[in-house]
């Protein structure tokens, strides 16, 4: 019996010593503020069980997102290529990293990421969660060109970060995984749901006749037929978050999804980007080849290039595309711009 008591006391002491760092403290839960347009129309966002949203985690993630400490020479933060004023992308076709070298892909805008149900992120779907994606740019030689060992050391010896990690994750021992978790928490808060079209959907605004005509072009299978890949008024994401070959090239210098899956049937496929916030996210496409929305629309109208993996939803390929009139193009552009959300890029919660 005495032995049994000794065993129990020892176990109790052991458990107390283990929880020494976080006794009694829990981060404050902060569930996402889901817009009514989303909760009314689409299924709930994806929040990993192992990384719940908390006030402290989001705050830490925001600080990290804007901090150049993650880069090799202290010149770049996540926000360098994902700037709030550009709906968290930048304004160049591809982005230059810490050494002034440009990559091959356009920086993707960041918003409504928690509703990417398939959880394949980036243009080629290489990253299978936001947390995993956040690990990559730090060590990418063309981007931040750093390494996590160095970054973790810097964060650990920083005057503020260990305490901020303790508040967010109940440990002041910093790891790359916790760093990525915090950044992902912040990124999930980047919700855009207040465009003119959103307010129209809620009965709070009117669209102009031109914007309504543009919606018609967007939805008509015999006109733009944009909706099969980019959604519709019942899906406020304005993307299917899937991968398509949209006829940009006859041959591919960048295989996109095909490089990730190894399946030649996926060659030339890239993620359908959301059509929200196009007013702020030029240039367009995975390689930023189109400077303007007009160029994008012209591509689908008369610029399609055939290839073995071109999506069967692409129409009239022999004619170059869906052959919109000048008026239809103008109307479509007006509608597309109604999906932009100035309140998102000006949201003080998302500024440094």
């Amino acid at each position: 019996m005495i032995k049994k008591w000794l065993y129990i006391v020892s176990l109790s002491l052991l458990s107390l010593s283990c929880s020494n760092e976080d006794t009694g403290y829990e981060p404050t839960p902060q569930p996402l503020d889901i817009p009514i347009l989303f909760s009314d129309n689409i299924i709930p966002p994806v929040i990993p069980n192992g990384n719940p949203q908390t006030v402290e985690g989001i705050a830490l993630g925001k600080k990290l997102f804007f901090d150049t400490i993650l880069s090799n020479n202290g010149t770049q933060a996540c926000a360098s290529c994902h700037a709030p004023q550009n709906a968290f992308t930048d304004d160049t076709p591809t982005s230059d990293g810490v050494d002034g070298i440009f990559g091959t892909r356009n920086s993707m805008p960041l918003f409504n990421l928690a509703w990417n149900y398939g959880e394949r992120f980036t243009w080629d779907g290489k990253e299978l969660s936001l947390e995993r994606q956040a690990l990559e740019p730090v060590q990418n030689p063309i981007e931040m060109h750093s390494n996590w060992e160095t970054v973790v050391e810097r964060l650990q010896s920083h005057p503020e970060y260990p305490e901020l990690f303790r508040l967010a994750f109940k440990t002041s021992t910093i790891t790359k995984e916790l760093t990525a978790k915090a950044i992902a928490q912040f990124e999930r808060t980047l919700i855009s749901a207040n465009s003119k079209f959103d307010r129209y959907s809620l009965g709070q605004a009117d669209l102009t006749p031109q914007e309504l005509n543009g919606l018609d072009v967007f939805l008509r299978e015999d006109k733009g037929d944009c909706f099969h890949c980019h959604g519709n008024p019942n899906n406020p994401l304005w993307t299917d978050n899937l991968f398509h070959n949209n006829g940009l090239d006859a041959t591919f210098s960048d295989l996109g999804l095909g490089d990730v899956t190894g399946d030649p049937n996926d060659n030339g496929k890239f993620k359908s980007p959301s059509l929200r916030n196009l007013a702020f996210t030029a240039p367009y496409m995975h390689d930023g080849r189109f400077s303007t929305l007009d160029e994008v629309i012209n591509h689908y109208s008369e610029g399609l290039q055939n290839s073995p993996t071109i999506d069967p939803l692409m129409k009239k390929i022999n004619e170059g595309g869906v052959q919109l009139t000048i008026q239809e193009k103008a109307d479509l552009k007006a509608f597309l711009l109604s999906l932009s959300d100035p309140s998102f890029i000006n949201n003080s919660e998302f500024q440094n």
Partner: protein, 257 residues
């Protein structure tokens, strides 16, 4: 201690007796029903692994590939020999592309007995005006000017056209519609009932539904992909042809219980 052991023995004995003496089906609890959709092209197995290769020949002699296939089945109905109807107000998006929901277990349990088993291909008009968050999330909607609601099926692929070139087709089944716009009209219903026939349910049951995709192009309308390949949603004639051809696509396969 001995009381506990005695009680345990009594419970175990009663349990065994209650199981072994129940020979009356009506006293057995209801059972689960699972529907499994297996796809073929005139008998050749079709899965997403066989997508993206031009390899199937339709009744009109056109070679084609499948690149995307998903469709809705709904309102599974069990009609007993005494005409008691158990209709399950459900729907399931069978997504062959992603190999999801090909097997579907109904939430409701079904009493043992003989039933005529049927389901709806697509959504009936009552269900088609509902707002389904999961189908919206899949961007399976039909635009309002075409009547709204949802696709019944998206069947996309490529075929070799009469110029020997590969060309896309979008065999999208929806509620047939005329006069697209603010006040569309509907010439006839194009969802349809698939009757699998009579099935005796004596236990938890798995019902295979065989789906012969070649039938979409065959019977009674010989489908000419050179003429009908894309932009079929606003084409009510094409939609009614799909409705006609769809009648022979689904059939009862193996049953295990």
């Amino acid at each position: 201690m001995s009381k506990k052991i005695f009680a345990l023995i009594v419970i175990i004995t009663l349990s065994f007796n209650s199981c072994s003496e129940d020979n009356d089906d009506n006293l057995k609890p209801p059972v689960s029903t699972t529907f499994t959709f297996n796809h073929n092209w005139d008998g050749t197995l079709v899965t997403n692994a066989s997508f993206n290769t031009v390899q199937y020949t339709n009744a009109n002699g056109e070679l084609l590939s499948i690149e995307r296939l998903r469709y809705i089945i709904s309102d599974i109905t069990f009609t007993s020999s005494s005409n008691e109807v158990i209709e399950l107000d459900i729907y399931n998006l069978v997504d062959v592309t992603n190999n999801t929901n090909l097997s579907f277990t109904t939430e409701a349990q079904i009493p043992l007995g003989n039933y005529t088993v049927s389901f709806t291909f697509g959504l009936d008009n009552e269900d088609n005006i509902e707002n389904y968050l999961d189908l919206n999330s899949e961007s399976f909607n039909v635009p309002d000017m075409l009547g709204g609601g949802y696709h019944y099926m998206q069947f996309d692929g490529k075929f070799t056209n009469s110029n020997a070139q590969e060309q896309g087709f979008n065999y999208h089944a929806i509620r047939a519609v005329d006069n697209p716009g603010m006040n569309p009209t509907f010439p006839q219903d194009t969802f349809f009932t698939v009757n699998l026939g009579e099935i005796e349910i004596i236990n938890d049951i798995e019902i295979e539904v065989k789906v012969n995709l070649a039938e979409w192009f065959k019977n009674p309308n010989l489908w000419d992909l050179n003429a009908l390949n894309q932009m079929l949603m606003p084409n009510s004639t094409a939609q009614i042809m799909m409705y006609d051809n769809g009648q022979s696509v689904f059939s009862l396969g193996d049953i295990s219980q």
